[in-house]
Subunit: 260 residues, 2 copies
């Protein structure tokens, strides 16, 4: 189970992405420039930002009118009321709030700060302010990207869409999978016997999250220059033959959540 | 910031580790067999299991006499009272308990299931049952391993000790850094300007955790055959010149913990 070597390559020269751009075509051009050929089993990890931008999830803050709840919460958390309006519109519920901090349950089920809204790269030189929302359905985005990549290259590819998440008990962010297609996002190794022939009891691995974190190491954080990473060698044979488990299966069901 | 390519190689043929074994020597032999030379900037990731075993952290369950609290908790969580005794002896407090589940704050500050005790590989063929505790001080273990590796090979190495953690809101485990030396476990990118010249506000990356997760992809889970991974290319230049930030700095201070 698992490969003994993995390579990660950030694709160079992906241009700034705009609404409607064909990410699969941009990947094809980048691969061609780098003289890389996709192989069956390769996984491409896309930063959430470029997927969201291609899908037109950029919102001009000038177009947002904060409602009464957003105004109240914005004062409490000391954030722009327009941004808070967008966060709440993307959220099922507020999980925790403090000055400077707004953790919500995103409509997709993720427990995350600011519903994943990104503002760091979204003030343009013309002074307009934007916020970038998560893709509508990241597993579906991954599925579409995979289909486009497979039709251009080779079958048996995987796609992961990643983002940086904070954690409740650890400082700093780590890459996490928002969407996945063509791989087992959750890898059940429970029936694999260990060296003593005992069966492992509790080893279910968040495979797509580990891929997302690894890709994040090469994406860097400060620019959009390396938003796509080729991961080669990371797709283990699953003992249960799980071929395609979406990232939504990584969400713990609310009834198992001990930290609401 | 960050490399554009990373390679991960699991070192083949590391034998079963016993108390007192010199892990640096085992690594040297494995590198030699693989005809790999360590370079400055390389990071070696060690599975917690082998570090704990080398440090003699295996406890024979027959030697453990559960106390009154362990007996009560063991019944509630439906675990072996001797194991619960060990978990409690390693813990500062119980965070959550349910049948089948015991989450504690480890004496080192980690919020984790079973205080990191591992039983999956610790029943030997002679039928004796063991539990394996975390290293006494994983950052110190990483420091010692790094010094031994640097004296045998080259300076400028990094060492990470990883383990698999569950998360409160996501299913499956991910590799996490218990100890680190020679790299910035927490990487502060806040002063890196983005493409628009704006300064990033909140980008502090749990660099050692991302390395730990990436290494976990090649370690596999079901055996101890690949407990050491060479990571090449993952050490970014830190904008603030942070050279050596231990893994303990990844722990969120209790006063910032909103999910106690």
């Amino acid at each position: 189970v698992g490969a003994a070597s993995i390579e990660l390559h950030a694709l160079a020269g992906i241009p700034a992405v705009r609404e409607g751009d064909d990410l699969a075509a941009l990947v094809e051009q980048a691969l061609s420039r780098a003289q890389l050929q996709l192989r069956s089993g390769d996984i491409l990890v896309f930063a959430q930002k470029v997927v969201s931008k291609a899908e037109g999830r950029l919102v001009d803050l000038a177009s947002v009118a904060p409602g009464p709840q957003a105004l109240i919460v914005a004062e409490e958390v000391q954030k722009d009321p327009r941004v808070v309006e967008l966060i709440l519109s993307e959220a099922r519920r507020i999980v925790r709030k403090r000055p400077g901090l707004l953790i919500v349950e995103h409509r997709l089920g993720f427990i995350m700060a600011n519903a994943g809204l990104d503002q760091s790269n979204t003030t343009t030189p013309d002074g307009r302010e934007y916020a970038l929302l998560l893709p509508i359905d990241p597993d579906a985005s991954a599925r579409v990207l995979r289909a486009r990549l497979e039709s251009r290259h080779v079958h048996g590819l995987g796609v992961v869409i990643n983002d940086s998440f904070g954690r409740p008990w650890r400082r700093g962010t780590v890459g996490v999978a928002l969407g996945a297609s063509g791989l087992a996002a959750l890898l059940d190794l429970r029936e694999t016997p260990d060296l003593f022939g005992r069966t492992l009891k509790t080893t279910i691995v968040a495979h797509a999250d580990e891929i997302a974190a690894a890709a994040s190491l090469v994406m860097g954080q400060a620019d959009e220059g390396r938003p796509v990473v080729l991961v080669r060698g990371a797709r283990p044979a699953s003992p249960r033959g799980q071929a395609d488990v979406p990232a939504r299966d990584l969400l713990r069901p609310p009834e198992e959540d001990l930290f609401r």
